[in-house]
Symmetry: C2
Subunit: 264 residues, 2 copies
């Protein structure tokens, strides 16, 4: 079976292949793109369209996410920031949306420290309103880049609820444990402190606001992906970022190398 056939079987979309192949230019042949069908027809997407979007005020979204964090935690508070205004402005399917049914996503999945719950909360709204798996993919990817490679939190609450905090940090990853750990080290505080809670609340506001800004642009027909999709399955041979050395020591992989090579 050719690489192209394998790609098709893996279900990668046309654009994913273009960009993914571009990223791995030195190591992988540029894949031709005929006969890539079936992926987007896998499901009747019109079912998603019951959740409509209307432009939101990012500042209001951020403030709501910030205020609700302290009782609802990361995932559900991002949902609060986005969904509460949508309940008012759009109504419809949003009226019955159970914001706290997603609280389990907090702390990287019930506290396991994996994916930051703010991204799960944001992804849920993005997936429900964009009604297109490729747009949702691009937007969640952009959001992960925003999360990982900006100094955060940058949200400034109109009235501080828990504590003054001094630091912004670059998480370098969407992984909760590392993200919050790096901030805690910079700030010099433990997890069960008002400062840490304040940081996660402001971070939730940042993620909710960035999501609102992207969706506002999208609903105006102006959303363009900022980053190439992180399908490093071609470049790195595995689902990953490109920060291999953060965990894999000093070894520098080249585009030709596979995960197995990396691990040896």
């Amino acid at each position: 079976m050719s690489i192209k056939e394998k790609e098709i079987q893996e279900g990668l979309s046309r654009r994913d292949l273009i960009i993914g192949a571009g990223k791995a230019a030195a190591g992988a042949a540029i894949l031709s793109l005929g006969a890539l069908s079936g992926v987007k027809t896998a499901e009747a997407y019109e079912v998603a369209s019951k959740f409509k979007y209307a432009k939101l005020d990012p500042q209001e979204v951020g403030q709501l996410a910030y205020e609700h964090y302290f009782k609802r935690w990361c995932a559900s508070t991002v949902l609060t920031g986005l969904v509460e205004p949508l309940k008012k402005k759009v109504g419809g399917a949003w009226k019955d949306f159970p914001i706290d049914a997603y609280r389990w996503a907090h702390g990287g999945f019930a506290g396991w420290g994996a994916l930051c719950g703010t991204l799960t909360g944001a992804g849920i709204v993005i997936g429900l309103v964009t009604n297109d798996t490729e747009i949702a993919e691009a937007m969640t990817n952009d959001l992960a880049f925003f999360y990982a490679y900006n100094e955060l939190p940058k949200f400034t609450p109109s009235k501080i609820i828990k504590a003054e905090i001094k630091h912004m940090t670059i998480a370098g990853t969407p992984v909760c444990h590392i993200s919050v750990g790096r901030w805690m080290r910079a700030e010099g505080v433990g997890f069960l402190t008002n400062e840490r809670a304040e940081r996660c609340a402001r971070l939730a506001a940042d993620i909710a606001m960035e999501t609102a800004k992207m969706l506002n642009a999208w609903v105006d027909g102006k959303y363009k992906p900022k980053h190439q999709p992180l399908y490093n399955v071609v470049a790195n041979g595995i689902t990953s970022q490109n920060n291999c050395r953060d965990c894999h020591g000093q070894y520098v992989p080249t585009p030709n190398e596979t995960y197995e090579t990396l691990e040896k």
Copy 2:
């Protein structure tokens, strides 16, 4: 502010405090439990109850999740396994449930390798039907333990779709990159192979089946959490598992030590 007050402000539930304190017996005082209110009243939970559960056949759930993986990927295929039978058996709110609106959760969030998408898919159904944040927390926690500490995949398809595979591995974590990487190394294959796709499809079946089994027990009033919640914020001072040395080298933390100590 006392530790207890801080815990309350962090929004930890009564049971979380009991068990969390128990886990950190050597290092933390057992917290008394008066006046812990407000957490479960943060949201009107009845809105979630539009999504009802009825006992499902785990084998059917697993087979559906397995078969749909190759086009829908990890998160949406677990949703398929659980939601398609619920659309038939229960109907109601499930009829409009947009299964593929959650595809962005694949590959640990749009391919970033963080939380395995099977767990996001399962968590969404658990959160929607259990209608109680504490039960959803316990169940997603049990599911993460199942995922991390069992040899998987163990699902045996009635008819193999992609490839024979030889290995089961213990992920040790719900993190996609590590989980799939460990399996790939054992099997000796790359990511873009039929074998890897087969593994993730079977793993999705396992997670969907385990979720159905837990929810079947719950709807019969027989679900009891198997594991203590992983609120290691008390024991480890951060959202985490207890496998610190996997990433933090040979340092052995004691219950009194905080994250900052661990990092020095």
